[in-house]
Amino acid sequence: MKRFSSLPIPVATALLAFGACGGDAGGDGTSLAGAVQIDGSSTVFPIAEAVAEEFQIANPDVRVTVGVSGSGGGFERFCNGETDLSNASRPIRESEVEECHAAGVEFTELSVAWDGLSVIVNPANDFTQCLSVEELRRIWAPDGGVSTWSDVRTEWPDEEIRLYGPGTDSGTFDYFTETILGESGASRPDFQASEDDNILVQGVSGDRYSLGYFGYAYYAENQDRLKLLEIDGGAGCVAPSDDTIEDGTYAPLARPLFVYVKHSALQRPEVRAYVDFMLSEAAMLVPATGYHALSEAQYQEGLAMIAEAVSGTD
């Protein structure tokens, strides 16, 4: 048990990885130590985990921890000064910004990836190919008057529409309700909710007249059990795919995922190195997590924002 952790650290490896991370962090050439504390959204967790794992291998003396308190729980800790970075699947709220300011926590918002929310139905559903945003709104609104598929379009079967979606604590729920219903949390309450997207996959795949929504990664892993719907955001029906999510045509259900960085923490070389590492490696690491990478220029922009934040607080 002890053997692995007490291996002598190959300093050269650490230095090599350092050169590759592109930033000017820790320029004195010594290997990094200290701790990087991250918490926040479980949606962003797979990305944070990938970055942390690679960074940890390159810098074995830095103690990286990634929590899963959720976007809101993460911000609470972040604005309390307890964490260095906060992952979020939605932008920080005004009330949270105020909390941060009150505690003297200055921060920079970085986008790290795109997530395409997929709207899915059972594979046995052969009548639905595409839904407009307005139809989605009527399905999910408390006053939308939809209880059967025929309420959505009259030519569809007169069968009860059974809804599956993420729990009300999740950033995904917040984003979907805000984008589709115009107000965060304004969803009808009579749907099957689960914090575990695999449960939603099971629910929809076992229920002929069901409809649900969740992150694209869960559709990608279960394509044979689910049917993906196209979404008409006003410019015709578009299915989520790598291309349509990355170029923004899968609107409005492609959402950015965020990492918030505390300025005062950037003064510590290990945090600076971690953030630079994240932005330089994201293009390579993000696709394997089931999310979509931003463009190279967008990551460069993030690096510039970090450099500016560091010089601004010097």
């Binding site: 944070a48 942390a52 103690r63 990286v64 899963v68």
Partner: protein, 294 residues
């Protein structure tokens, strides 16, 4: 007398019905027992089928990874063992002392009655409430941070009511004649408690403690509140170290979109079960040792 009258006067059919009732009741109780055993058996078989292929020494000693074939349980296992040992060290002496006080020393006034009622109520408080308490009291109030120690203290609060109640039952089960005989020979209260009551009650106390610790080892919610993390690639170096635990790691894996993670989650469950079984084994060994002494 009248009962004897109608028994002797009863016909054979009545007697058969009477016996049938007994048989039905015994059968119902047996079936109730089977519900537990069968569901445990099904669960075990299901988990072992899913997980046994992924379970090897590499899995036990490898660090966590986002690649299922590389991921291991080492950090979570070490975290669980740390939490378990610290929780046992904190909760056992406190709970046993409290039980001894309540049973052997306290006057049976309204104070001890109030304490007793509170302990019974605390045993039924949802674990997340302890998590919130731990966050406010240990993590932030006492400034212990998101450490193994905060987690162990929180879980200690969670299981102490259970241990106290079990210990009280065990102490109450020691025959009063033993105490009276000891007092009669001139023993002090300390001597009676330490040499007669405690050794006789210890097997029962240990059983209660192990059951409580088994609950602690499976807890996730309060530990997330006090800061168990999702990704951590080093084992705890001391009580102030950050940590994760087996149930949280397993949950992390189960909720992934990829099927491969569910296989290693099953392997993680087997490791958790083995940890529980070895805890029980230790308890049985301890219990037998103390039982044979008295």
């Amino acid at each position: 007398m009248s009962a004897g009258d109608w028994l002797t006067g009863s016909d054979a059919a009545f007697d058969r019905r009477r016996k049938l009732k007994g048989a039905v009741f015994a059968g119902a109780c047996g079936a109730a027992t089977l519900v537990g055993v069968v569901s445990l058996g099904v669960l075990l078989v299901d988990v072992i089928i899913d997980g046994i292929a992924s379970l090897d020494w590499r899995f036990v000693t490898a660090l966590p990874s986002r690649f299922p074939e590389r991921a291991g349980i080492k950090v979570a296992l070490a975290g669980s063992v740390w939490i378990l040992v610290l929780t046992a060290l904190i909760s056992f002496p406190l709970s046993v002392a409290a039980a001894i006080y309540l049973e052997e020393y306290a006057n049976r006034g309204w104070v001890s009655k109030t304490i007793q009622t509170n302990i019974a109520n605390l045993a039924g408080v949802p674990s997340i409430v302890y998590g919130i308490l731990g966050l406010a009291l240990f993590v932030r109030g006492l400034g212990l941070g998101r450490s193994v120690l905060s987690g162990a203290l929180t879980l200690s609060l969670l299981i102490m009511p259970v241990i106290i109640i079990a210990a009280q039952e065990a102490i109450r089960a020691v025959p009063p004649t033993i105490r009276e005989a000891a007092y009669g020979l001139g023993a002090t209260r300390w001597q009676v408690v330490s040499r007669q009551v405690l050794p006789m009650a210890l097997p029962g106390i240990l059983t209660g403690t192990i059951l409580a610790l088994s609950r602690a080892v499976g807890e996730t919610a309060p530990l997330i509140m006090v800061g168990a993390v999702g990704f951590i690639a080093f084992t705890p170096e001391g009580p102030m170290s950050p940590f994760t635990v087996l149930p949280l790691q397993i949950y992390q894996w189960v909720s992934r979109p990829q099927d491969e993670f569910r296989a290693i989650a099953a392997a993680g469950i087997i490791v958790l079960l083995l940890l529980l079984l070895s805890m029980n084994a230790v308890a049985i060994v301890l219990r037998n040792r103390y039982s044979s002494k008295t």
